[in-house]
């Protein structure tokens, strides 16, 4: 039995994670013995349009963070373009709170490879790259082993599984940069440059890697594809809620008794995931706040948490389902310190390309730092909000929004936490 990082929960719906914990789960033999490559063979007999239609029916939405409908994204790639098409896997997983793509690559790399191959059939691509963050060095080696095994046994390279399809897959190492999880910054990094985002349009689907049509999706998104083709898009869709199909790996962390990664259907009640799946809050303390899907999301206060977890419900609340990184905070949490830590992160990770992000994240960090160090003015609370609101939608990529949105939510929903940092005689000294 392979050692998992946390105990599974009986409340999970294990589709993507069905092989987690099996002996030799990462081997091709195990994969083939558990329905492996049935979906690829089926897809090989389908028209590309039909593959894409099945993915649309599944209501699968991007599992990296933005939740864009996957089938729709696939339909944007001009498969008849004379340029080579590329499949890119975003395995940069760096959103605070998120630790799921790691498990999919470690325990079931062939599931992802099969998903990539089915995608290649849909867009007529014959080469792909798995962009893996530099810190995941051991997973680069795991993926290389799995890729090597696939080549040796004829499941990558020429004439895959005897079907006449050709596809080459390679890993590519990052070197420490959160911004490289942004799809266009990832592409620039892949091309050997600093990971700076690009103007959109053109979108990667049309002009991506080396200016060629590119399909770029998250590890978990590709991993869901074999099930969708094998069992049908409707079967996947029915697991979730309308327009929010399937299951996802939810990473529960923070103030819970059983932190872990758990596969739950879209629409699963958030409070149930905290109190039943993750075993509740230590010491029976009260719930204060939840980061629903990674630090870029507006934070929810406890009274907003009695909700089903799907993209549309979170969006209506003004937040996001995001990357699946759910961070639970109890009543002892100082939300100002949380805001500071999050701003330190964004200020550090800002690529520096555009002024509203480069300056904005730096100022958010400095103001919060000054407040926490005992020099906070009453005006600073409104200033944090004003600065954030003026960054929203004005930065070159979403990193600026990712810093602004949680700040606005903390100022609006946890005003009381700022009181103890307001010092009447404080001045905006040299920060």
């Amino acid at each position: 039995m392979t050692m998992l990082y946390n105990e599974p929960s009986p409340l999970e719906t294990r589709i993507l994670s069905r092989r987690f914990g099996m002996p030799n789960s990462a081997s091709l033999d195990t994969y083939l013995a558990t329905d492996g490559f049935k979906a690829f063979r089926k897809a090989r007999e389908m028209k590309p349009e039909a593959i894409i239609e099945e993915v649309k029916i599944s209501a699968l939405r991007g599992r990296g963070g933005a939740g864009f409908p996957t089938g729709l994204k696939w339909s944007f790639v001009p498969r008849t373009s004379p340029k080579p098409k590329y499949i890119i896997v975003n395995a940069d997983e760096s959103e605070p709170g998120t630790c799921k793509d790691r498990l999919l690559m470690e325990y079931d790399p062939h599931q992802m490879i099969e998903g990539i191959l089915i995608a290649s059939l849909a867009v007529d691509a014959h080469a792909g790259y798995v962009y893996i963050r530099g810190e995941y060095r051991y997973l680069i080696e795991t993926m290389n082993r799995a890729i090597g095994e696939a080549y040796t046994k004829g499941y990558l390279g020429k004439n895959i599984a005897g079907t006449g399809w050709n596809f080459d897959l390679h890993t590519h190492s990052g070197a420490g940069a959160y911004e490289c999880g942004e799809e266009t910054a990832l592409l620039d990094s892949l091309e050997g440059k600093r990971g700076v985002p690009r103007m959109k349009p053109p979108f990667p689907a049309v002009a991506g890697a080396w200016a060629c049509p590119t399909l770029l999706n998250n590890v978990e998104t590709y991993s869901a594809i074999p099930y969708i083709i094998r069992e049908g898009g409707k079967a996947f869709a029915d697991l979730g809620t309308p327009k929010n199909g399937g299951t996802r790996l939810v990473c529960i962390s923070g103030h819970v008794n059983k932190p872990g990664v758990y596969e739950l259907p879209l629409g699963y009640p958030m409070l149930k995931s905290i109190y039943e799946v993750a075993g509740g809050i230590p010491g029976d303390r009260k719930l204060k706040a939840v980061v629903p899907g990674g630090s870029s999301c507006p934070i929810l206060k406890s009274s907003e948490c009695d909700i089903p977890m799907d993209y549309d419900t979170l969006a209506k609340l003004g937040s996001m389902l995001g990357s699946g990184g759910m961070v639970v905070m109890d009543e002892t949490t100082d939300m100002v310190r949380v805001a500071l830590r999050i701003m330190r992160f964004y200020a550090h990770e800002s690529c520096g390309w555009c002024i509203p992000c480069r300056e904005g994240t730096a100022w958010l960090r400095k103001i919060l730092q000054r407040m926490v160090e005992g020099n906070g003015r009453r005006e600073d609370v409104a200033l944090l909000k004003e600065l954030s609101v003026n960054m929203l939608g004005r930065t070159f990529c979403a990193l600026g929004d990712a810093a602004a949105m949680p700040t606005i939510s903390i100022v609006d929903k946890f005003a009381a936490d700022f009181e103890k940092y307001i010092v009447p005689e404080a001045v905006m000294a040299n920060a």
Binding site: Y5, S94, S173, A175, P259, S295
Partner: protein
């Protein structure tokens, strides 16, 4: 400049992995893998990678400052990275980092006098559900308490 046979083999595969004429793509992966052997991104390494990838040395030099895992000066033999981002912070990551500073007697991005250890306060490393998390070189450690960190460091010290 030559590298170990294993690294040379890896670099040969890397260069062949990208479309023809696009070997610039190998720059960042080459730098981070070569750094393990060379110890740091030296001017000599930059020239070597530039030559192998068919770009100007400046085009390699200009990416180094962007990527936080690339460093121009050597770190310790064991680089201890402690996460203090939100999931780790909520379960004691900041206290663990302060403890690491005291245990090693160095601060952020500093190296011990004997060159054995260096320390870095890092951002989220993707171990949130098993926090507090520490990475030593490329090895992950989960649910790390101050006592366990002491054991890890003492264990590595014994190896000298």
């Amino acid at each position: 400049m030559t590298f170990s046979p294993e690294l040379e083999q890896r670099f040969a595969k890397m260069l062949a992995a990208y479309p023809e004429g696009k070997q610039r793509s190998a720059v960042v992966p080459m730098l981070i893998y070569a750094q393990d052997e060379v110890g740091a991104i030296t001017p000599e390494l930059i020239d070597e990678v530039a030559g192998r990838c068919g770009v100007e040395p400046l085009q390699v030099d200009e990416v180094v400052g962007y990527y936080s895992m690339l460093h121009r000066k050597p770190l310790g033999k064991y680089h201890v990275q402690v996460c203090t981002n939100i999931s780790c912070m909520l379960v004691g990551g900041e206290e663990l980092y302060e403890h690491a500073k005291k245990k090693l007697g160095i601060g952020h991005k500093q190296v011990t006098a004997d060159g054995e250890f260096s320390l870095e306060e890092v951002e989220c490393m993707g171990a949130c559900s098993w926090a507090p998390a520490v990475e030593i070189n490329y090895d992950f450690h989960h649910f790390v308490t101050p006592e366990q960190l002491d054991k890890l460091i003492d264990g590595l010290r014994k190896k000298q």
